[in-house]
């Protein structure tokens, strides 16, 4: 998976595939900020989502530190959401943020960092962690689906979590 720095460089060079990757990488993040942070629903959330990526596309060249792509996108998303909320109330754009927005974005950042670190783990670790923690599957079901003795699943999960922690701390 390319780094954000590489992704930005390729986008600025006009690589359409890189742009698709960037949108794919950040679409859930942007949508989560719109819907969970600012409670935008339905068409409002979708319009805000489109606005964010239009702005990202138009302003990517102004990003000074490509490694800071995620906080930059978060900032753009917050501005777009505030503008949309103000437009819905027919008010001037405001800087008044909803309560708890900082902790919501902190949690989203943490969740996305975990997701990115998870994607760097071997396939079998991704599979076993996803099945246990995200899909709530039992040890027996995981063992049967993956052809692994169910008595070893708990230890596998522990080892995979240790690797995930190493990635996050790296």
């Amino acid at each position: 998976m390319p780094s954000d720095e590489q992704l930005v460089a390729r986008c600025l060079a006009g690589d359409q595939e890189a742009w698709n990757d960037l949108v794919r990488s950040y679409s859930r993040y942007v949508f989560a900020i719109c819907s969970q942070g600012y409670r935008l629903q339905g068409a409002d959330a979708e319009d805000a989502f489109q606005d964010v990526f239009v702005r990202v596309y138009g302003r990517l060249g102004s990003l000074r530190n490509p490694e800071a792509l995620r906080p930059w996108i978060a900032q753009l998303t917050r501005r777009v959401c505030l503008d949309r909320i103000a437009a819905g109330k027919r008010e001037e754009p405001s800087d008044v943020e909803p309560d708890g927005i900082e902790s919501t974005i902190e949690q989203l950042d943490e969740a996305f960092a975990v997701r990115e670190a998870l994607e760097e783990l071997p396939e079998e670790c991704q599979e076993v962690l996803d099945r246990f923690f995200c899909r709530d599957e039992s040890y027996r079901t995981i063992g049967e689906e993956l052809g692994i003795p169910s008595g070893t699943i708990a230890s596998r999960i522990s080892r995979c979590l240790a690797r995930l922690r190493q990635r996050l701390e790296a």
Partner: protein
């Protein structure tokens, strides 16, 4: 919380809460063994996830059980649907409780000796909860003896009993 609400909480709710308590005990024992056992951190995470899952299942079971009681008192076309749901949740509780017992066994075999009896106790609690939940699947009016839900619930209870037996042997 009203008395009426409490009265609708049956054995499924109690089984879920008991297994959740067992999972929290497993987490505590693993946490106490972190200095001597590198995998303990991962076990704590799994035990916490199982505890959270079981608390949610217990609450959901109480709601479904209450709805089933109402449906039984005033039979309608909805009765079958309520009874089907009333069998699904105890099955999930039986399976999650079996996982708590399996995790407790792992802990009992590797934890600090001072807290090993607690890990064994957690396995026994989880096995009891799994057996109780499996019995609720068997007692459900819509479940026949060869129903896959019953087969799976009884298998989970057997797994839990086996794990608890081994954990108790390790815990002496």
């Amino acid at each position: 919380m009203s008395n009426q609400h409490d009265a609708t909480r049956g054995a499924g709710y109690a089984a879920g809460r008991t297994a959740a308590a067992g999972a929290r005990l497993v987490a505590d024992v693993a946490r106490a063994s972190q200095d001597s056992w590198p995998d303990a951190t991962g076990v704590v995470a799994q035990a916490n996830a199982l505890s959270d899952r079981l608390e949610v299942l217990a609450e959901a079971d109480a709601d479904v059980f209450a709805a089933a009681l109402v449906a039984l008192a005033t039979p309608s076309a909805e009765l079958e649907r309520h009874m089907q749901r009333a069998a699904a949740l105890p099955l999930e509780i039986a399976e999650a409780a079996a996982d708590v017992a399996a995790l407790a066994l792992v802990v009992a075999e590797r934890c600090d000796g001072l807290v090993r009896a607690d890990a064994a106790g957690a396995a026994a609690l989880a096995a009891g909860a799994s057996a109780a939940a499996a019995h609720l699947v068997r007692a459900n009016l819509t479940v026949k003896p060869d129903d896959p839900r019953l087969v799976n619930a009884l298998r989970a209870a057997d797994d839990a009993r086996y794990s608890a037996s081994r954990a108790l042997d390790a815990g002496v």
